[in-house]
Amino acid sequence: MTLYRLFICVLFFWATNAHADISLLKENHCDQCHRLSSGDKEQNLAPDLFYAGEKFQEPWLREFLRNPHIIRLNGYSGRMDFPKAITPQPHPSLPEKVADEVADVLLTLKLLEPETPINFGEPLSKGKKVRAKILFERNFSCSACHKGVNLAGKPHGGESGPSLFNAGARLQPQWIFNWLQSPEKYRSKGRMPRFDLDQETAIKLVQYIMTLKKENMK
């Protein structure tokens, strides 16, 4: 009986714990720069990956690992020397097969399971999009630090935050919502100001960010 319990325990541990799989990431040296589990000591060289399965959209992630591109135009904001603006180095790229295996592991890494996932509804209508753009560009200064899109369909905005120009294809809406409402759950201290947003406003901002897709741009 005890043996049986132990077996269940081990099975449970094995099923919920991604450590076995993380070794694939370590084999590929991802841990040289990234934290792969929330317990890892902060090294602040690159964005954390221990919630990658919650943060990224699968197709984007698979493509990024094969064909990486620059998202943080002045480097990673966690670095102490960030204010001097870091010239970003090209990200290591992986061969297709390895990229897919690595992506499979990353997609299992989650931190928060939302108690009540939010329904972000239909894509914004034109009129609602214009109003949400004002929230993003004016009321909350988001575009002072993030690249969004201008009326000509070109990237525009600040450069200290990660570019959001293609965020609609890159990030999961629920993760953006969680980040806006409680960033400290993911990162003890970032450089983005905290906003005291009511749920409705946060949802509008998420819906707006989800319209930012390279494929939608002229």
């Binding site: 204010p83 560009e137 200064s141 575009s143 002072a144 201008n150 009326l151 600040g158 200290s160 100001p193």
Partner: protein
């Protein structure tokens, strides 16, 4: 005729939207900081008075580097990494001519509530949910140290 109207409509939409960042590729000209013009023009600038600012802690300096340098720059000259992308340039905190026309309370409120709430450019974010009042008071003192100036 219609084209003039369209242009007018276009610019007005542009103006309402581009309150913070330049919303057009062509727009290279940037709005001057709003109230510098109100500063009286004197024929010669008197040497700055020696003022003794309140002591500034290392924590306050670190806070400035951590958050504010993104726009105001490492030395407070308004040349942070976002500066070139903003329609209204981040205030240069080392220049007395404008800052001495503002009271400490006005600077405090601009930092806490953000540009939009105090009639300044909306690209100055509100820090009231990020920083405690005491931190903000520290930052005001630090800005006074940077500008070698006192509040109005």
């Amino acid at each position: 005729m219609t084209s003039i109207w369209l242009k007018f409509l276009g610019t007005s939409i542009l103006l309402t939207l581009s309150a913070c960042t330049n919303d057009s590729d062509e727009s290279v000209h940037r709005e001057p900081p709003p109230t510098v013009a109100e500063v009286p023009h004197e024929t010669f600038v008197p040497a700055p008075e020696v003022v003794k600012p309140a002591p500034v802690s290392q924590k306050t300096r670190d806070t400035y580097q951590w958050y504010c340098s993104q726009c105001h720059g490492i030395t407070g000259k308004g040349d942070g990494m976002n500066a070139l992308q903003l329609a209204v340039p981040p205030r240069n905190h080392t220049k007395a001519d404008y800052l001495e026309t503002r009271t400490d309370q006005q600077l405090f409120e601009a930092i806490k509530l953000g540009g939009l709430a105090v009639g300044r450019a909306p690209c100055m974010p509100a820090w009231g949910n990020t920083l405690k009042d005491a931190d903000i008071t520290g930052l005001v003192n630090y800005i006074r140290e940077l500008c070698h100036c006192e509040g109005a």
